[in-house]
Symmetry: C2
Subunit: 491 residues, 2 copies
């Protein structure tokens, strides 16, 4: 298989698909819409998980685990929720297979039909609120701050690795509160945590905002979102946090005795990010040579490659390298010394470039003589020869520089791709020729939103938090508007 | 809900079920055979996961993720494998729901029937070997050392929290090797890792051995096992590691080009432990007052409870406690200071006893005067007043003592419950009146094994590794035997 990627400028979508496979991140399984996450891709996801999990726990959340299968009737209890998920439901109807009459194959045993069909969870609000009913009696049982790391299933018709798959991995937080204020605060806290994670760890700038009613989660009163911008000018919703009001408490009859002795419905939130973040990470930073990873999420932060002709040289180089490896590890830097003799250095250079390893060191006989080492950074593709002494300190600083440089680059791109449009012609022109977010006035109606989507494929990504208020008119209907909202074509 | 548990001597099974629920570990969901793992139970599982994951990675394994759903036809490819799992298969047949004709409910959409049914993975050999076929061409691609943390589904008819549930959480390692020897070595290495984990972290002594053909994993050539002994004299299989030979490579046609340029089938292993370990942990150490946790797996290692009448006293106590908390945390000890005023100290004492917190400190006004603190250990239920100064060092040592004491106690119990039987009457007598493992001669046939099971419900748990060889005769058939094997009733 050629390591060469299609160029982004030629076919961005093809570039993405090739990169995911060639960098060893994921691949399509033989099963419709379901992917295999390969070890290198999974190692990045594990780093994301570890950091998010830490942030959740620091804010008082605990993990738990709820059943994979949810009875069909649970979904019907919240009207909007079932509308939102019924069309994508994977349904378990039987619980046994049997040998076929000819003894050669297996078939579903018709005698093992379930009385009520079970749905593979597309999200767990219903099963969790059915459980919370048992856990909550009084205000003393509140708040409940629970998160679950799990797989979920939504039978999407058009799938793409990481971005949209029938099965995906995610975390879903589900909290229960005594007051509306506390629940709103929780929903906002979590979107802030997602924003912090995206910017400080993924080096991916995001806009925090609230969704229009049309784009809201099925069953929510408000959906907060972080929206990122990909290099092709399309937006990617990267995490959402929902204020669910009392909808699920009412659907599952979950009441609590308040401090004042009154029976009241419980207030709720839910919030989640998924393996979709992998797609966002890839498309934010990577280039025509392959993956570019921010150091904080790179499974290998530094790779060291020996350059040699004779075995004695390798021995000498390895002695030096082992010293460097030790120093780097002491600093908590993950480092791989690739002294395998299966491949030539040039092949290895390309391979680790494709895999997005932030820093590459190369050491040859001349370096040994001069006490130097060649340092290449993945983000700028630049090389520099530095003194071997204190190279660990140099690299420690370099990793920080790369992390900030990646964020800065992505933020510059994003900032130059938020454009105001004051009429519909301008809007379409920007959408077609420049892409990115378009700040435009909107009359607030779902009809207008739908019409714009039909005409342009652009949707309202969000109404930014703390949005500037200004008088204007809807670009399509001419109706009055108090603020601009952000439109974009989106993944 | 009363916190009081049924006594073990009265009804061991009832004691277990009550303990799991009352200690907040897990509960039955409304859905047949599926449990909710509650935050406290999940926190223990997370500690297990973290340690096992570390041990897997230290031995060169990487994590990955494979699809939840497996096409029915994949199972048929390995004959014994399908026999083993067909009867417990949860089957997905449809991928959409629709609104009923009366508009009031939802039903399965018959138009959305899958061409081929999908099975929720009961284990992932088939989907993984279907994938490995794409990953493996030459000896350079070997070995593959991959592990997956996942949920699996086996439609068990009789379920019990943690011990046997339709859905459970586990890890499944799946490795591919160029030679038989290497694969056998891997399977053995992993059973040793499981043994080390059970003994050093769970404080649970285990016997390592190999399964008889009848008890072997469906599709394996050899199954290695670790067998633990519960307090009621029943054995519990706690982890298995399978040498799969070339069975799955042949079923999925996975060949590699060897160094010598020959096309050969790949050799395989798989190995797993599950949330069943939670059941083993609970039943190994706990007592009539509740859970007893080994310090290495306790989410809270030390709880501190203030004893006071007046608010000023609480303030003084808290100042002292905060110093102790800081010192303990600096030593990496997880500590909870429970100064909530919802409950009285006596209630808290019972609560943390029920939850198995290894060490409890109580501090009252008199302790402040005397510079002392009351230290209670959960394993022995003994109390001691010690000097507040250097209490952190005292506790650090105490946690180690508790860890070793728990192992010793369990090992003593196990060792006194391995009994030799030389005839069938003796065998039945021991089984009925003493329980535990029975070392007896067996003629090696599946028929005899089956007969003993029918007559006594005892099964061969394992043939211990490095088993003593001695001549004898099968207690039932009188046929010659070269070694004793271990029988027991089992969970």
């Amino acid at each position: 298989m050629s390591k060469k990627l299609t160029k982004r400028s030629e076919d961005y979508s093809k570039w993405y698909n090739e990169l995911v496979v060639k960098a060893g991140l994921a691949e399509n399984s033989g099963i419709r819409g379901m992917m295999v996450i390969k070890p290198y891709g999974y190692a990045i996801w594990e780093k994301m998980q570890a950091q998010l999990d830490k942030m959740f726990k620091e804010t008082g959340h605990e993990n738990a685990y709820f059943p994979l299968l949810i009875p069909k009737s649970y979904f019907s209890k919240e009207a909007k929720h079932v509308d939102g998920f019924a069309k994508e439901a994977a349904v378990v109807t039987h619980y046994r297979l049997r040998t076929t009459a000819d003894g050669k194959g297996i078939e579903v045993d018709p005698a093992a039909k379930l009385e009520e069909e079970l749905i593979i969870r597309p999200t767990s609000e219903t099963i969790i609120w059915d459980t919370y009913k048992r856990w909550i009696q009084s205000y003393r049982d509140l708040p409940i701050l629970v998160n679950q790391w799990a797989n979920v299933m939504r039978w999407e018709m058009r799938t793409r690795l990481f971005l949209r798959t029938a099965e995906f991995l995610w975390q879903e937080g589900h909290t229960a509160h005594a007051t509306r204020e506390e629940a709103v605060q929780e929903a906002q806290q979590m979107i802030n945590i997602y924003g912090e994670f995206a910017e400080n760890f993924m080096a991916m700038p995001v806009i925090k905002g609230v969704k229009s009613e049309t784009e809201r989660f099925a069953g929510a009163e408000d959906t907060y979102t972080i929206e990122a911008l990909m290099q092709d000018g399309k937006a990617l919703q990267s995490g959402t946090s929902h204020f669910l009001g009392q909808n699920f408490a009412k659907a599952f009859d979950v009441k609590f005795l308040s401090k004042e002795g009154k029976l009241e419905y419980v207030w709720a939130t839910s919030w989640g990010v998924s393996t979709r973040l992998m797609g966002a990470l890839i498309m934010t930073h990577s280039d025509d040579n392959g993956l570019v990873l921010p150091p904080k999420l790179a499974p290998i932060q530094v790779v060291i490659i020996p350059i040699y002709r004779k075995t004695e040289q390798l021995k000498e180089i390895s002695d030096k390298v082992n010293e460097i490896v030790k120093k780097l590890k002491d600093k908590g830097i993950s480092v791989k010394y690739d002294d395998s003799d299966n491949y030539k250095p040039g092949w290895k250079f390309n391979e680790y470039e494709l895999k997005g390893v932030p820093v590459r060191l190369a050491i040859g006989p001349r370096d040994l003589e001069n006490g130097t080492v060649e340092v290449a950074r993945r983000d700028t593709l630049s090389k520099k020869t530095v003194a071997m002494e204190n190279v660990d300190e140099y690299i420690e600083q370099l990793l920080q520089d790369i992390q900030s440089n990646l964020f800065k680059k992505a933020a510059d791109f994003r900032d130059t791709h938020i454009t105001k449009a004051d009429n519909f012609e301008e809007f379409k022109d920007i959408l077609e020729n420049k892409g990115g977010f378009i700040a435009a006035h909107w009359d607030g109606s779902a009809e207008t939103e739908e019409k714009i989507k039909e005409l342009t494929k652009a949707t309202i990504r969000c109404i930014p938090l703390n949005n500037t208020q200004e008088d204007g008119v809807d670009m399509l209907t001419g109706k009055p508007s108090k603020q601009r909202v952000l439109f974009a074509k989106a993944y």
